[in-house]
């Protein structure tokens, strides 16, 4: 019977932790994909002096969300 138990307590906690991070980082990526697209739409609607900085920040966040997703995957 004991041989059927594949994980110990610590491993199960880590597995849950990893799944949680994977799902969160994926949702986070989706969120920033939408934010990036919307920032583009907003800047098309109203173009102000600092628009390019905001576009850069949105792009940076999108990139960071991809890094986090892959980071969670290989954790």
């Amino acid at each position: 019977m004991e041989s059927l138990i594949l994980f110990n307590n610590k491993e199960i906690i880590f597995l849950f932790f990893k799944v949680f991070l994977l799902i969160s980082s994926f949702l986070y990526f989706l969120f920033f994909l939408v934010t990036f697209q919307q920032t583009k739409v907003i800047i098309k609607t109203v173009e102000v002096e600092k628009s390019k900085i905001l576009m850069f920040l949105s792009l940076f966040k999108l990139f960071l969300s991809i890094v986090l997703f892959f980071g969670a995957f290989f954790l």
Binding site: S25, V46, L54, K61, L68
Partner: protein, 185 residues
């Protein structure tokens, strides 16, 4: 308030002669006034952000007993990224919810949660009544309030919420209405 001179105060929440272009702008249309919510009204989410940041740093006291160093780095990066996202999202919301007064019309651009956009336009000729409301301790102290612009006929009314110096905005719009809408340019 010099002619053609760009002037701004209160972290770009009150800009005279701003350099901006917007969708549907006519060739001879000149933005005269750009309004955003007074920065003091943004304090609650800045405080939230600060406490979230404290929470992330506080978490580091307990994490070393449960996680490996590279996992702690990842959790910190993820947490800080979430805190920054919250800040950035709220900042975008403040930055792009604006009111624009041009020499031809008044525009109220609202973005709700960044996925829903609402633009209300009133032609200056159709403006019938302008009401500025300042109420409460903070509003009186920091001089911000709401501005209601009523238009003739079926055109939508415009509301600028928590804008700085509402009385001065009323004065500028009135001046535009009186002086053939181009005296301030």
């Amino acid at each position: 308030m010099g002619k053609n001179k760009s002037y701004h105060e209160l972290l770009y929440s009150f800009c005279l002669n701003p350099s901006l272009t917007f969708n549907g702008q006519d060739n001879d249309e000149v933005p005269i006034l750009l309004l955003r919510a007074h920065p003091i009204t943004q304090i609650p989410w800045i405080i939230n952000d600060f406490f979230l940041l404290l929470f992330i740093f506080g978490l580091n006291i307990f994490l070393p007993s449960y996680l490996k160093p590279y996992q702690i780095i990842f959790v910190n990066l993820f947490g800080l990224s979430l805190v920054f996202s919250y800040f950035y999202f709220n900042f975008l919301h403040w930055f792009f919810n604006m009111g624009i007064v041009t020499n031809k019309r008044i525009l109220d651009i609202d973005f709700y949660g960044l996925v829903y956009k609402e633009t209300t336009i009133a032609i200056l000729d159709k403006v019938e009544d302008i009401t500025a409301k300042v109420g409460g301790f903070f509003s009186s102290f920091f001089n911000y309030g709401n501005l209601f612009i009523q238009t003739a006929g079926t055109e939508a009314n415009i509301e600028f919420i928590n804008i700085p110096k509402p009385q001065e905005v009323v004065k500028i719009i009135n001046q535009l209405l009186k002086n053939g809408k181009s005296n301030l340019i």
